[in-house]
Structures are given as C-alpha cells and as structure tokens.
C-alpha cells in the first residue's frame, strides 16, 4: 500500500506547482449585513420554509412548550443526553406532566441501546451550538453527552437553540467556529430540515431515513 501511495504521489508531482496555495478571500453575500433582529427573523423564515416547526420561547416557559408538544403529538418515550442541566430540567418537566411519558438516558454504548434507539424512542431533544440564518441551519456538535444517534433515529427531533448563538452566514461560522481548531470534534452536523427525498419522480416526501419531524425551540 505504501507502494500505491508512492506511485500516486509520484504521478501527481510531475508537473504541479510547488508554490503555496493562494489564500483566497471569501466573502459572504456582498450585500446585506443583517442586524440581530433581521438575522433572528431570517432563521425562523428559512426553518419554516423547510418544514421545521419553530417555537420562540424563554427561560421561564420553554419546558412548558416542550411538554405541550409532547402531549399534543403523543410522544411518550423521550431520548435525552446527560450532564446538561437544561436537559435535566426538560426531562423532569416531561415526566411530571404525564405518567405515560418516560425517559431514556443515552448513557450506555450504542451497541447496548441499539434496539431502543431504532424502535422504541418517539422523540429526542438535543442542544444546538449555533445556527445559520441564511439557510435556516442548526449546528450540532455531538459528543459524549449528546451522542450522534440522538438526532438521527427518533422520528421526532427537538432542538434547543439560544438566540444569541444565531449567526448570519456559514462563512461567518467557519471564520469563527464554536469548536476547537486544534482538535476537531469527531462529528459536526448541520441540520436544516426533517429528513426528505425527491428521488421518486421528483416528488418531495418526508421522513426518508432520519427524523420526519424537526422542532426548534429558540431560547430568547
């Protein structure tokens, strides 16, 4: 295999320049620097355009909204992460609201929770680290507290986002990312809508493999 590597690199080095890569300056949309209010509005507009359900909440009432969603949509088994006080708060509120509601803590290796994750979870709630208004995108950084599958297997996925974490553009995010440049997170997921496909005669259908419903709670 070293042989393959050497052969390929040798083939590549014959004519290529040895000068350094140009540092191309990238601009976002040349116009419109949006203010906070406009950014906020744009995010909601884009999310709703792409079939996400958006609720504007505040620190006091957000768990009430969550409970309301759970009861209305009859979501009984909730998958939540660990070590996050806000999420613990949410979990408590849910179980208090109805005896039918139970929690699954993602606190074991995936291998042990597989069946549950795929078959027995109605909804999950995770936190977003940031959001991008120009495309209506939530930025999640799965980690030991909120593993990757949380935003993938449940049919309903609820995302908690702080309004102050909303950015204008993708370019803005990568120029000043909410993660360490030195050690990249193992996974970063950008979510902009429920799972969908138009593979059958270009007809849009939701819930292909990922969550069918995406709900965003924006914390003011």
């Amino acid at each position: 295999m070293n042989e393959a590597r050497n052969a390929i690199l040798a083939r590549l080095k014959k004519l290529t320049k040895t000068s350094h890569i140009k540092n191309t300056q990238f601009s976002s949309r040349p116009n419109q620097p949006l203010n906070t209010k406009q950014t906020y509005k744009l995010l909601i507009e884009k999310l709703e355009e792409n079939r996400a359900e958006v609720h504007q909440v505040d620190n006091k009432n957000w768990t009430d909204t969550l409970v309301q969603i759970a009861l209305e949509k009859k979501l009984k088994t909730w998958l939540i992460g660990k070590n996050l006080s806000q999420i613990e708060q949410a979990g408590k509120a849910l179980t208090v609201a109805s005896p039918e509601i139970s929690l699954v803590h993602y606190s074991q290796d995936y291998e042990y929770l597989k069946k549950t994750l795929f078959h027995n979870v109605d909804a999950s709630i995770t936190c977003a680290k940031a959001a991008i208004a120009e495309t209506g995108t939530l930025v999640l950084i799965p980690d030991q507290n909120e593993p990757r599958m949380m935003s993938l297997t449940p049919p309903v996925h609820v995302v908690l986002l702080k309004a102050c974490d909303i950015l204008n553009s993708f370019q803005q995010l990568v120029d000043n990312p909410p993660w360490s440049k030195q050690t990249m997170p193992s996974n970063i997921v950008f979510i902009s809508s429920p799972s969908k496909t138009a593979d059958i005669q270009q007809t849009l259908a939701y819930g292909a493999h990922g969550p069918k419903t995406l709900i965003v709670l924006i914390l003011n």
């Binding site: 393959a4 390929i8 370019q171 193992s186 493999h209």
Partner: protein, 465 residues
C-alpha cells in the same frame, strides 16, 4: 459511433416513457436551480470563488493529499491509497474480512459505482445494499443509476410501485410516494441496525483538519456512517480542499446546482471515529484515496480542469442530448457532459471516445457549471486528441476533411466547386442520407455571394478582389 452506443441511443429515443420521464425531471431540476441562483451577481461571485478553489486544489494535489493524510491519521482515521479500482476493492474486502462482515450498507457514492464495488463484494459473498432511496430502487431492479444525483430519475411513480410489488411483494396505493418511501425506510432501517460496515463517498475532504464532508437529504448517509462499527469512505483524490473556509462556497454551489436547495437537510462533518469517552459513532473510520486515472489527468494542462468537478449534475440537467437519451444510453458510470469528458480519460479514448460524438457543442453545460469548467472546450480538445491518436488514418472522415481542406485552401477551386454544386444543385456534404431522413436538402443558390460580389465590384469603380 459504435453500433452499441448508436443502438442504445435509438432505443432511448424510441421510448416515450423514458423521454417523458427525463423531460419532466430535467425541466424540474433546471427550474429549481434557476430559482436558487436568481441573483446573477451572487452566481458570478460564487462561481469565480468556487472555480478558484477547485483549480488551486488541483494544482496542489500532492501537498494537500499528504496534509489530509497526516491530519486524518492524527485524528484516528486510517488512510489507504488505491491506484485503481481493483486495489480499492481489495482494500474494502480486506477490511470486511478482518471484521468478518457479511452485510455492508452504502450511503451514496458514484466512486464506488465507478469501481463496481457492489458486484465485487457480491462475488465474495458479502451483501452490499444501497440505502439512498434512488440507489435502492435502482439496485432492486438490477440497474445502474442513470443520473449522478437522482439515480432513479428514469423511473416514474407507477413504475416504482410496480417494482416494489414485483420484487418485494409489497403493494402500495397508486401514486402514493409517501407509502413507497415508508416501505424503503422500514426495510433499510433493519439493515442499518445489522450492517457491520457502512460505506460512503466524500463530497469534500478538508486537508488542514482531516475532515470528511458529506451532504444529503435523507439521513441514510449519516446512518451508514454512524451505525455500523466500521465506516469506509471512498474518495477520488481530486475531492480534497485546503481548509474549512472553502467549504461554504462549495457547499452553496453544489446543493443549489444539484437540486436547487440552498442547503441539504444534512451536512455531515466527520473528523474521527468514536472517541474514548463517546458512546456512538464507528469505532473505525477508513479513508480510501482513489486514483484510477485522476493523477494522469491532473498532469495534463489542457484537460486538468476535468478534476474541478464537484459532481453536482448541473451539466447533464442542462444537456439537450442527455434530456432525450437519458443516462443509461451512455453506458458509463458518469453520463452527460462530465461523463463524456471523464470516461474516455479514465477508460481510454479509443474505447470510449465515441461518447464525444453525442454533443452538439451548444454550451449549455459549460454555462451551468458552478466551478466554471469549460466543458464544451474539453469535449473539443478530447475530439482533437482522439483524432490525433486515431490509428485508422485512412478513415473515411479523415479523407473527407482532407478533401474539404484542399477545396477550401484554394479560393479558385472553392469557387469552382461552389459553381459546380449550384449547377448540379447537389450537396457535397458527407453522408447526406443522415441529413435527408428528416430534412430536405438545401439548394445551393444560383449565384453565390462570391459571384454576386464580383459582379457588384465590377459595376463599381475599384473594390478589392
């Protein structure tokens, strides 16, 4: 054109269902793209940036690939290099055998189609199932994808309903797309749970952080690269980009060009396998860097821009030929304009050069390309290369152009021939029967422009001859 290619073309043209399916699909995709790029200034800006990023990357491939490798290794991603499809397939096989894998689930990857991975694994008794809905449908029907973004674009809802009934024994109500998707979801969910290996492609690989970027709408890509304990990513060596700053531009160009979306449902950035304190994600991540002819292309100044391609499919969506003959007629992994350019370079001009004939050089492809590849110029260049390496120097076409040249080189001979043609009102073009199947022959004018200009200048005093 070989009789095989010609036959496939004629079959496609004679198939009203295929014609209608493709017409509808291409019109739909073009309109969506048009809406996404309605701001002309933004389109021009993004396109220039995207072209620069891609050209720059292609001109720095060795250093970028080495940096990518180093960063991936630092992150715990294992890196393999494959000179061709056979090596790549064997790498996948050896990883599969190490894990005694019997079931492989695939996200979407045109590179794996290029190396015919599914068939290879099948020959080694490893089931390789497609999880992208379009790919799954196509696999079910024992076909190859007919489009690089929407693999089942050649089928309509009725045909897919019938296919599910026939192959799965599952009936769904007529025209019910949601039901069909539901069937796929249920069946494939089990596979995500069971598969020992997940295989994906890579849309872009970030060199300075060792990060694999994947875009998708369905979620199958994320599931394929998260659920199984082993993830193998296969990537053409040209897909590397220098840093994450380049990603927003390329993402915008890719998704808007492909489906008219400003962003797909998911953009997934993978930088390492499951870390020690993490609970999920694959325990092993492998990146296979595939050459298979790309390094050679990178060395060719005239054809190098082939590698800028970000596989968006816009060229084929805008191609009036592809719209009418569909993807399968090309008989190659990559159809449409990019296929006509890539396939002869990967597989040989002699075998695949005929693909170049299915092009009127109308330029719609080049106009739509989000990274400004001059596709018509590449087709023309490849035609020149084909002719230059043509061993059949006494071919009919060579002879025709030789005669053409002799006539047009000598003005008086040319004018004589023109007069002769006018006299006999017959056409000196090659193979007139191909023209006259659907058109009448144009009649040469009684007096050519040359003749009329001669008369005109004689009646004036002076004037050049």
């Amino acid at each position: 054109m070989s009789s095989n290619f010609s036959t496939r073309i004629k079959q496609a043209l004679a198939d009203p269902q295929l014609r209608s399916n493709f017409r509808g699909a291409m019109d739909f995709l073009r309109n969506k793209r048009q809406l996404a790029f309605s701001d002309e200034d933004e389109w021009e800006t993004l396109k220039k940036q995207g072209a620069a990023i891609r050209q720059d990357a292609i001109q720095h491939l060795p250093e970028l690939l080495m940096q990518l490798e180093q960063q991936c290794l630092n992150n715990g991603i294992q890196v393999h290099w494959a000179q061709d499809g056979e090596e790549a397939n064997n790498i996948v096989l050896s990883i599969a055998q190490q894990h005694q894998a019997k079931l492989v689930i695939k996200g979407k990857s045109m590179a794996t189609e290029e190396i015919e991975l599914n068939d290879f694994l099948g020959r080694h008794n490893i089931e390789c199932i497609e999880s992208d809905m379009g790919e799954y449908i196509v696999q079910l029907d024992n076909e190859k994808p007919s489009h690089i973004i929407m693999p089942a674009i050649h089928k309509n809802t009725a045909q897919i309903t019938e296919l599910f009934e026939k192959k799965l024994g599952i009936s769904t109500p007529e025209g019910d797309v949601d039901a069909l998707i539901g069937v796929g979801r249920t069946i494939l969910r089990k596979k995500f749970e069971q598969a020992e290996i997940g295989i994906s492609g890579v849309n872009f690989a970030i060199a300075d952080s060792g990060t694999l970027c994947l875009v998708e709408n369905e979620g199958n890509g994320r599931l394929s690269t998260t659920a199984p304990p082993v993830h193998i990513a296969l990537m053409g060596i040209e897909k590397v980009i220098p840093n994450i700053q380049a990603l927003p531009t390329l993402q915008k160009l890719l998704t808007r060009s492909a489906t008219g979306q400003h962003i797909t449902s998911y953009l997934n950035l993978i930088s390492s396998p499951r870390k020690p304190d993490e609970l999920d994600g694959p325990k092993e991540v492998h990146l296979i860097l595939l050459d298979n002819g790309r390094a050679k292309i990178s060395q060719d100044q005239e054809l190098q821009s082939t590698l800028s391609c970000i596989r968006c499919g816009a060229c084929m969506n805008h191609c009036p030929v592809y719209t009418r003959i569909g993807g399968h007629a090309y008989g190659s992994t990559y159809p449409g304009p990019i296929g006509q350019i890539l396939t002869p370079q990967l597989k040989g001009l002699e075998q695949e050069g005929e693909l170049l004939d299915a092009c009127s050089l109308n330029g719609a492809c080049g106009e739509a390309c989000p990274v400004d590849i001059d596709l018509p110029e590449l087709i023309r260049t490849l035609r020149h290369r084909r002719q230059a390496t043509d061993t059949k120097t006494l071919s009919l076409e060579s002879f025709v152009w030789f005669i053409w040249f002799k006539i047009h080189q000598h003005p008086r001979l040319y004018q004589f021939m023109t007069r002769l043609a006018a006299l006999f009102r017959s056409l000196k073009l090659k193979a007139p029967e191909n023209w006259s199947k659907t058109r009448t022959m144009p009649k040469p004018a009684k007096l050519s422009l040359h003749q009329q200009m001669k008369t005109r200048s004689k009646s004036k005093s002076g004037g050049e001859k």
